[in-house]
Symmetry: C2
């Protein structure tokens, strides 16, 4: 890593823009631009097809500069996955109006529809889903740079779902005998597992339908 | 791979035992011994901790000889996973008698108990479960040597479960509205996904309970 910096922070930037806007803001902005570019590259090319080189080219940086922001490919890929977590697709408002309706059952339906919408959006970014499958598998091994990300991601997802399922139980729209803690883990598990099968054979499974079926089993949804 | 063979097939074997029993039987036996040793090594040490060297030592072979049977670490690891598929743990007969009972509901309960028994057995072999998680993730990428194994494994598992769920539906013990094809994929998915979470945090999830919950949602089990 002793090669001269090839483009990340040019002297002019440091003297001009960066000073006016603060070096931290500048660095954060560049970091975001790298992650955006990496998202696009890996979304279209997948885990093996995507390369550091192509990401560097897209943001007009040398690979050496890129390594200043992300010391390893794994670090960059984890940032790509974290970015996906931040951009939750929203369900179609017309569908929500039509299928969810009002009241407690409406809230249960909105919860189900938001999960379905994300599952459907994932069909459009197979490269990112592939990235997720490879990294989540690798990261179970000790000392993997992505381990902490996945531990936290699972904790956060389970906690969010436990909260919503507990609220739905209080509203009387969680089916009898369903445990919010175990059901929360099961939603996440089913989702990860069905994505894995989908990556091996896209015609064999329907990701959104598998989640919809499960949610219909545990929730009292509006009757149509 | 030009190093002399260090122990796999000694001249004495070729002239004696191997000729009497046929070279194919000899080779198959040695292959099995390697996979058995690799299963033990990776079951106790996990994906990163296990090594070709240790497997070779256990079977009294050089690493070069080992590579004659399994050209890459991935090939050997896939064979370890395939071996696990062959050894399905059976549920405790007393528990089956007590919880399953007779008739159609009894058959549904036996199906559920056999899945639970396997999930519980997996708790005892975290190294193999780790291996499965790493390889199934890696194998989604094109040209991975394990890809074909996973494609087939998922096809076989889904087909077996579809058959059993269809039979249970005919016996009237599949709940209304449950689709055997989607439920079969969901059992496999839930299982893979809950194992993944368990590898990141063994106290956070109960693998057997997640599967039991799901099977209770889709099957009419005996009432106790």
């Amino acid at each position: 890593m002793s090669a001269p910096d090839g483009g990340a922070v040019r002297p002019a930037d440091v003297a001009g823009t960066a000073r006016r806007r603060g070096p931290y803001a500048k660095s954060a902005e560049r970091r975001r631009a790298i992650v955006d570019a990496a998202f696009d590259v890996f979304a279209s090319r997948g885990y093996r097809g995507g390369s550091f080189r192509e990401v560097a080219e897209r943001v007009g940086m040398s690979q050496t500069s890129l390594l200043h922001y992300f010391p390893s490919k794994e670090d960059l890929l984890v940032a790509v996955l974290a970015r996906r977590d931040d951009v939750e697709p929203e369900p179609d408002p017309d569908e929500v109006r039509c299928r969810a309706g009002e009241g407690a059952r409406g809230r249960a339906a909105r919860f189900a529809l938001s999960i379905e919408a994300q599952a459907e959006a994932n069909v459009g970014i197979p490269g990112v889903i592939e990235l997720y499958a490879v990294l989540s598998g690798e990261a179970v091994t000790a000392d993997h740079p992505g381990r902490e990300y996945f531990v936290e991601r699972f904790e956060n997802l389970r906690r969010d779902y436990v909260e919503e399922l507990t609220a739905l139980r209080e509203l009387g729209v969680l089916r009898d005998g369903v445990d919010p803690v175990r059901a929360a883990a099961s939603i996440v598990a089913l989702w990860d597992g069905i994505q894995l099968q989908w990556l091996f054979d896209r015609d064999a499974v329907d990701m959104a339908a598998a989640l919809r079926d499960y949610l219909s089993l545990i929730l009292r949804l509006p009757e149509h």
